[in-house]
Every structure is written in structure tokens, then in C-alpha cells.
Symmetry: C2
Subunit: 417 residues, 2 copies
Amino acid sequence: MIDPVRIEADYLIETVLPLENAAEIMAGEQSSGTFRQVPGETPELKDRAGARVEHIQELSAHSEPSLPGAAQKAGGPYRTAHVTLSWPLDNLGPSLPNLIATVAGNLFELKPFSGIRLLDVRLPSAFAQAYPGPKFGLEGTRRLSGVHERPIIGTIIKPSVGLDPEDTAALVTRLCEGGIDFIKDDELQADGPYCPFEERVHRVMAAVDACADRTGKKTMVAFNLTGEIDEMRRRHDLVLSAGGTCVMASLTAVGMSGMIALARHSELPIHAHRCGWGALTRAPMLGWDYPAWSKLWRLAGSDHMHVNGIDNKFTESNQSVIASARSLADPMFADAAMTAVPVFSSGQTVHQAAATLQAAGSPDLIVTAGGGIVAHPQGVAAGVEAMRAAYDAASNGISITEHARTHPALATAIKAF
Amino acid sequence: MIDPVRIEADYLIETVLPLENAAEIMAGEQSSGTFRQVPGETPELKDRAGARVEHIQELSAHSEPSLPGAAQKAGGPYRTAHVTLSWPLDNLGPSLPNLIATVAGNLFELKPFSGIRLLDVRLPSAFAQAYPGPKFGLEGTRRLSGVHERPIIGTIIKPSVGLDPEDTAALVTRLCEGGIDFIKDDELQADGPYCPFEERVHRVMAAVDACADRTGKKTMVAFNLTGEIDEMRRRHDLVLSAGGTCVMASLTAVGMSGMIALARHSELPIHAHRCGWGALTRAPMLGWDYPAWSKLWRLAGSDHMHVNGIDNKFTESNQSVIASARSLADPMFADAAMTAVPVFSSGQTVHQAAATLQAAGSPDLIVTAGGGIVAHPQGVAAGVEAMRAAYDAASNGISITEHARTHPALATAIKAF
């Protein structure tokens, strides 16, 4: 890929206006224009600072508007199109927060649009110089977890919230003894008085280390440090000094400036949770597509990014999950790919192993099953064993049913889930 | 109001499931439950950490699902309802970022829901102790701007982006000479090389001070410092040392942890821009209502909050704008109201003065007109004069047409806009 000179963003729009007209309004409102001509907007200024419509591709039309409040016309047609706008980098400089205000700001509310959705962004290389990107990514995660050439099998502490540090550590011991590669806090687990962060880290890391001493395998644990900036830095330092190898933060909860501060400070892989993302994406003609959104967080420094799961318990289609996972491997800059590790999660069990591997297109993924491991009828260790067996089978092109003949924990899981 | 003991959140939901069933799934997923029973979720743990369904009020039903991906049933009915959930404070402690992950996290994607929207939140008083809230609010803003007992009349630097610091300062001089109360950067104006923040602040403040020396009136200028945490703190200090009286940040661009860091540091009123908010709210059965969203940002420390404008250039109805503006006056806690000043903006001209005053229900508001002032045919100073005259008329219950007989700048504005 060649880094563009200008900032570029692709949108899906829906409008009753002529497409060229609508696109020009977008470009104007997101740069030097406003709802009426102002004296200072000279041709020279517009040439210097104006956004440009680079491309319009008409798609299908709807007879009804997808969203309320827009300019209307009885019966439509409400034309849809892909539109690419571009901005001079100098309007804002290589600043991620200001990029959001420019490519995903007021435009979602512009009157001409009964649908408007940001699909993708392409950024000049100045952004690659300005931000760290994932400091660990796949390679660093494999190194720290000791898992090579196969998917990283993970789980989520369940119940999500309500266990105290001692119970959490006891569960972690059982998971580690089962051979789990990766464990994450649930995004609901914060730093409440019943399960304080500091005590949780100390007890959990003691459990991880004790198991590592016995087995030689040190499980990676992503501790949820979501919070204020100073809290996150302090918690990161605590995890690091306790010998931990991963931290987790919820992107929509922390926000962009907070994530950048964490990432600049971090000496550990950042497991980026996307809870809240549904509000930005679930209306098909509004908000964000995952490639645009995840690129900004990759640039900010997310090493692992959630992409939902195949046959998940949520509302997203498998097609969308696959597209999201694969988009994380799209290189962002000519000299800095800034790829993140896809995390498949939500309603995961042994049944989705083959499809998940196929979705990712490689074994370079993390899969986390909460209930799908912890609720195994023969216990947590059997849950881990079954999940690993399912992915071993899938990696070798063997059906889980066949593999289950020699792997009783997998046989039980197939029936139970 | 009495502060609740538990965290409470109100939702609008749409589902084909029995309402009680759907609400219990929400409560479970956002606390101790997951898609299947896990061994550790004992009755005692559930009692301690589980979210509770406090209230369900059935509303109308739809025959088609509002959002894709949800559990379906041919012909529906897709029932809608108001649901109130509550959580023990101890699950997360009084933490705003973790509150977001809890009340507005994964639930937007839960399968049972073809519509799910967060309407309002009520928080235990521990949150009032944990966060500053608006440090200046109305009183501090009136004190620093010297505007009492009437609306604060403001404008936005236009063109939004593309002016250099010198041109910006020249425009500010004309605005101040016209008697403007308040000026804000556009949210697109950041710290690019053509208009660097530092030079902009120095030149603009020199213009403001020079005018104040002549007239005795010091205009409040909200400098957009949106950026990384350290940048925002540094820029805030620069504005403060240059004698500035306000800073502006874009909430969705900075995010919650960044805004908290800025607010804890700030010794100036924070003008909170909501660009990007449309993506969270414009689909009627998804995302956030303004009262829920704005309360979190008030608690974080936003002094001024944008509410769009009456007859705005965007897609929001006047009814929604009015409800938003009024919600900012709802006290958040028994001992700490944490009210923010509503900012009416977007396509504002002299024509909306009376309706805006009525919408706010008091003169305690900021109104910002960009094109509606800067594009006045007789120039910027006449634009300010007309806008002030329009609000004077409205405040005294006089029609702008009548008032225009003795105010020629207003007469021109009435025709021009």
C-alpha cells in the first residue's frame, strides 16, 4: 500500500439529494464550509483547507429513509452510495482525537442524510510516526504466552463479577492446571471493594506462578485496568511488577485520549475490549464499520482486538465477524502494518473451532470461551482440555466428533454445549 | 431527589421475548450471568453481585424488528418497554469508565433485543464524592464572561478551519468590537501547522485584551484543546497563563478517561462539544438518549454542554433539543446538582431567539451562531449587534420584527437569514 498524502475516509450514505450535491455538503461541513457562505471562505482558503469529494459510487436505492430527521421526498428514491472524502493533513495534524472530530464528527447528523456510516480510513504516514501502534502484536503475544503456531486458547473469569480475589485465584489455578493459554477478566470486573484490583493481581499472579513452577507454562492473564489515566498507569505498573504479561482496557469506556496515554506508558500487550461498540455499529445505515474504527485503536496501541465470535450469542452475522477479523491484518501504512491479533469471543464452545480457524484464515488468533470452558460438566480443567482438543482437531483438519473418540473431555463438551 | 443506593439505569427495549425474560437476560449478562449457568454463580453470589430488574413498563409493539440480528418471530409482535435495571455499587465502585462498561457495554448487541437504548441513569452519592462535576457551571461562566441575567451570545470562528492565527485574531477583534460575549473555535480547528494552537491563543488573547482595554468587556473564548492528555493539560495551562477564560474539548474524540483527566486539572470552564454524538443517538431504537449521556459528562466536569439548536441544520427535532437542554438542569445528586449550561448551536440566526429562550425556560444559556453572525451582510460587528438585539427583544417579549424598526442591523439580519 502507498500511504496517501491526504486523510481519506470512505462512507456509505443514503440521501434524496443528488449524490454529488450531498457529498459536497459533507465535505464542506467537515472542513471550511457551513450552512451558508461566509466572507472569509475565499477560493484560496477552500483550496488549502477544504475537504474534497474523491469518489462517488452509486449503489441501490431505498423507498423509505433508513433514519429519521433527514431531508425527505415522498417515495424517495433514497439513493445509497459509497463516497470517499479527503482532507489536507495540515487541517488537524496527525492527531487521533482530532481525526475523530473530523471524519466522525457532526456529519452523522447532517440533514441531507437518511443514512451515513463511516466504512474505512486511510492515513498519511505522519500518523505512523506520531503513534506507537501495537507494541507487541502477534509476535510479542506469542513470545510472552509461549504459544506458537497454533491458536491461543483463552477463557474469561466467570461469573463475570462477584468472585473475590481468593475465589478468582482458585479458579485461575484450576484453569492453569488444565493448560489454558490465556485468561481475561470480564469487562464488568473493575476495582470494586469486593474484588480490589491490587489484591486480585497479587493472588492471581501467585496462582499463575505456582502453576508455572509445576508445569513450566506461564498463562497470560489480561487484567482489566479500565479506569482513569493515573489509575490505569498505576495498575499497569502493578501488573508488570507482579510479573503479569497483559493488561485489558475497554475502548469505549476509556476513550481515545485515555487509550493513547495507556499505550504510550505500557510495557505489556494491551487487550482491547470493545463493549459498547454495538451502539456505534448496529444500525446498518449509521455509525461505524469495524475496519474504520479498529484502525484508529490499532494506531493508538491496541495489541489484541475483539471481533465477536462465530455463531456468537450477540446479533452480529458470521460474515461481519469474519470481515472484522480479517481487517485487523490489513496493513495500515507502507512501512508499519500495525496489525492486531483478532480475539474471537462470545458464546464460544468446542463447536466453533473449525469455523473460527477458517474465519481467521490462520492460527494467529486468540479465542476466549467463558461459559464454554468454565461450565464443562467435568470441571474447568476438562473444559480447557476439550477446547484445546477441539482446536487441535480443527488445525489438523479432523472433525471434533472423530477427535472426541480418543478425547473424552471433548466428547463430553460436544454433548454439553 | 434522593440518591439511590444502587446504580440505576433506564432503557427502552424492543423484543419478541416475554418482557420479563428479556429484562432478566440483560440483567444477567451485565452482571454475574452469561449465556449458560456456570458453577460459581451461587445464589449468594447472585444476591451480592447480580443486577436486578426493578421495573418494566410495556409500551407499544412493532410488527417488524427495528434492528437486524435479533431473535425474530414472523409478524412479531416486537414489544417495546421501559425497563429499569439496578446494580450494586460494589460491583465496580464509583468509576465513570467502568460505569460505561456496565450500563452501556455489551448489552447493545444482545440477541433478544431488536432495539435497545439507554435513556437515563441515577447514581449513588459515592459518584458525587469521586468526581468534580462542573467546576464553574453557570455562575462561574457568568462571572468570567461578565454577562448577567441574559443569555450569553456567542459565535464560532468561521470558516471553521483554514484561517491562520493572524486572520483568526483579526476576526476576533471585529467580533469583540461588535460586543460578542463568547467565541468558540470550531471543533475542526485543532493544532495543525497552518494554525498552531499556541500562536492562535497568543494572538487571539491579545485581540481580546486590546478590545477589553477599550471597552471594559472581556469576551470569553473557548479554545479547542482536544488532543492527548498531556497536550490538553499543556494547552490548558497556556490558555490560563495567557489570561484566557475557557477551554473546549470534543467529548467523543477525547473519551471519558481523557475528559476526567482534563477536568481534574482544569482551572477554567470546560466547553464540551458533542460532535460525533449523532452516531450514538440517531437510530431511535439504539444507543443513548441525551439525559443518560450528558449526566456522565457533567459528572466528569463539563461546564457547558451542546444541545444542538432550535430549527437546527441537523436532523434533530425541536422537541428533542428542548428535552436535552432542560435535562441539563436536572439535579444529579441530593447534595450536588452538577448542572451544566446548555449551548444552543447549529444553524442559529436571529430567527430562533424567542424559541430558544422558551426552550431553555430561562436566560441561563449560551447560544452560538457561526454563519448567522459572521455572514451578516453589513459585517461581523453588525452580525453581533443583530443577534444581541434579537435576544434583547425576545427577553422583553417583543417580536424581532418590531424591535427591528429601531435596530437596523437586526432588520438586515431578518431579511438576510
